[in-house]
């Protein structure tokens, strides 16, 4: 029983990480109509920026976290305004450009930091225990920050005028811009918000899991899985699906072992695709 609860806690903290990634991914798709292949790249970049700030510059971890978020958001903003904006109307071109940008990012990180994974560990050690249930403090902090970020995103999207404008863009771009929503401001903002979330996740999670130039690939695959499961462009769908993915992965890894967890998820996603091609909470798919 204790093992069951401990696994559940791991699953929930995994789910909160996936939520941050999937929220960014789904925001970009919902608002810009772009599949961001570079999402894993921003995750890795967040991790490396945090690593550089703590290990090389000797800054404290919370400051490093903020710098990681700021720099990934900044790069996302620049990428959107300078490159993505030019091809925003052509879905295939946006795909190619983000994919190319991911390759450039991964190679740049490889050249700057080398292929070996650096020594980067979470500043808080120790394990919380209650009876037979163990939960590392590091995971607890990650869970807390992730939940706070999720609440912040929800507040931003559903309770502010900026969020209303973004949701209007997602609903119907033509009508929203005719009513005065400014694409030139909202698109870069949404993209920067999403890449900042990816950077935050990277800075939080890579000290626990692993930091290496290539860790963005599985992140991309899991973001895809989550948004397919939840329904592309749906914020609540992404959140629900991310927690399902986290829990299934944790329980399958413990009770089935090895890579069975990933396989279980893939099968789950295939079944969902047969029954509900638009995902769990997805609405009619936008033509993109």
């Amino acid at each position: 029983m204790e093992g069951f609860i401990a696994t559940g806690l791991i699953g929930i903290s995994l789910g909160s990480q996936y939520t941050l990634l999937a929220l960014g991914f789904t925001l970009i798709f919902g608002i810009l109509g772009v599949v961001n292949f570079a999402h894993g790249g921003f995750y890795v970049m967040g991790g490396y920026v945090a690593y550089y700030c703590t290990s090389m510059l000797g800054l404290s971890y919370p400051v490093a976290l903020l710098i990681a978020v700021g720099s990934t958001a900044m790069l996302g903003w620049l990428f959107e305004t300078l490159i993505l904006e030019r091809v925003i109307e052509d879905h295939q071109a946006t795909l190619m450009v983000t994919m190319g940008f991911y390759l450039v990012m991964a190679t740049a990180i490889l050249m700057i930091f080398g292929a070996e994974s650096p020594e980067f560990s979470f500043p808080i050690a120790g394990v919380w225990r209650a009876g037979g249930v163990y939960f590392p403090y590091a995971n607890m902090v990650v869970l807390g920050v992730c939940l706070a970020a999720i609440v912040l995103v929800y507040w931003l999207v559903y309770r502010t005028n900026l969020g209303r404008a973004m949701r209007a863009m997602a609903e119907d771009r033509a009508v929203a811009s005719a009513l005065g929503m400014r694409t030139k401001v909202l698109f870069p903002f949404a993209f920067a918000l999403a890449t900042g979330l990816a950077g935050l996740t990277g800075a939080l999670v890579t000290p626990i899991l692993a930091l290496a130039p290539h860790v963005g690939d599985p992140v991309l695959a899991f973001s895809f899985l989550t948004v397919i499961l939840g329904g592309l462009g749906s914020v609540t769908g992404a959140t629900v699906a991310a927690f399902i993915v986290g829990l299934v992965e944790a329980y399958a890894a413990v009770y089935l072992g090895g890579s069975k967890g990933a396989l279980t998820l893939f099968v789950l996603v295939l079944i969902i695709l047969v029954i509900r091609p638009q995902g769990l909470l997805g609405k009619e798919v936008r033509r993109a």
């Binding site: 798709f29 599949v35 490159i83 030019r86 091809v87 879905h91 295939q92 071109a93 795909l95 190619m96 450009v97 994919m99 190319g100 940008f101 991911y102 390759l103 450039v104 991964a106 190679t107 740049a108 490889l110 050249m111 292929a115 690939d217 991309l220 695959a221 895809f224 899985l225 948004v227 397919i228 592309l232 090895g258 890579s259 069975k260 990933a262 396989l263 893939f266 996603v269 295939l270 695709l273 047969v274 091609p277 798919v285 033509r287 993109a288």
Partner: protein, 348 residues
């Protein structure tokens, strides 16, 4: 009156030939590779030619799906199915005839693609991209999990040399001949398939909803294209496994699909020649920059961005446009050229 009749009969006579110039040039270039073993025995050159032909054949899977405006990441999965089919047949059942193996490497992936296509092709553009991407990850995991059949992380090692009507193809130049044969088969199938249905594909590429409402059974063409793309990818998988003499999961890594997409896009996605030219240029470039092997993904990424932003037709598209405008300028300058001809029904 007579001019109108002349125009119409001119149009009828202009009825586009089955193969355009690009198809002939492409097939000719692939055939030329048969001559390479006679010209050189340099193992470096032979392996380079091998790699180029395999890359080009694999990229055909991307090219075929792009005819329908679908971006496919599934090439490595079908390469793996084709490659492992050959490995299992030759190691477990002792089949070494290259024709039989080639047919199996085409048919097994194509048959696997039918139920998968039924599942995937109902999905619209972006979903198709995501699911084909996830599919390569699934196949990768399955290769590791299904150890009794695939050898798991050890792969299948020590394949016997293939035979062509009893003649054993074992040394470096023979391997290149096998690869060339497979590549030629792949290019021929692709050229015939994409030209045979070029009008249908063009209609679906432009606007599949409109095509559907005009009575075109889109799903049928999409399913066929998915199966043929899978089969051609399977041929590339056979060639790769045959060159390495092993079938190993790492040969079919999910991210390698990005390379095949790059070849097609940078070469020019509008023409089959673009796929070949893209593979030749980029595989050679990878080799040229091999001093810093890890740089090649960055180079590919940069090229993808530049081509997408500046030259949407890729190398072939840009060259074709250049030649066209030079010709137009030349004839205007001479003053006696015909007025600009109606486009020759050259729907790709």
């Amino acid at each position: 009156m007579t001019t109108a009749a002349a125009t119409i009969s001119g149009y009828l006579k202009q009825k586009a030939p089955f193969f355009g110039s690009h198809e002939w040039i492409t097939l000719g270039l692939v055939l030329l590779a048969f001559a390479i073993p006679a010209l050189t025995t340099n193992p470096q050159a032979l392996s380079q030619a091998n790699l180029i032909l395999i890359a080009a054949t694999a990229a055909l899977g991307v090219y075929i799906m792009l005819r329908l405006d679908l971006m496919s990441f599934a090439v490595p999965s079908f390469m793996a199915i084709g490659g492992y089919t050959v490995a299992v047949l030759s190691l477990r059942l002792g089949v070494t005839d290259v024709v039989v193996l080639g047919l199996a490497a085409f048919l097994v992936p194509a048959l696997c693609a039918v139920p998968l296509g039924w599942l995937i092709l109902r999905l619209k553009g972006v979903y198709f991209v995501l699911v084909t991407f996830v599919l390569t990850e699934i196949v990768q995991l399955l290769l590791f999990e299904a150890a009794p059949l695939t050898g798991g992380s050890n792969g299948l090692v020590g394949m016997p040399a293939v035979r062509f009507f009893g003649f054993e193809l074992w040394d470096n130049s023979h391997v290149l001949l096998t690869t060339t044969g497979l590549a030629f088969a792949g290019f021929l199938v692709t050229a015939i398939f994409t030209r045979r249905f070029r009008y249908e594909f063009a209609a679906i590429e432009k606007n599949d909803v409109l095509a559907e409402s005009l009575g075109l059974a889109c799903w049928k063409y999409k399913a066929m294209a998915f199966a043929v793309a899978a089969g051609v990818s399977g041929l590339a998988g056979f060639a790769l496994v045959n060159m390495l003499m092993t079938a190993h999961p790492t040969s079919f890594a999910p991210m390698s699909s990005v390379n095949y997409i790059t070849y097609t896009i940078v070469g020019g996605k509008g023409s089959i020649l673009g796929t070949l030219v893209g593979a030749i240029l980029l595989v050679s470039a990878t080799d040229y920059f091999a001093l810093r092997g890890e740089l090649s993904p960055g180079l590919f990424g940069l090229l993808i961005i530049v081509v997408t932003l500046l030259a949407r037709g890729g190398v072939i598209g840009t060259v074709t446009t250049l030649i066209g405008s030079l010709r137009a300028r030349g004839s205007r300058w001479l003053g006696n050229g015909p007025a600009r001809k109606a486009p020759k029904g050259d729907i790709r």
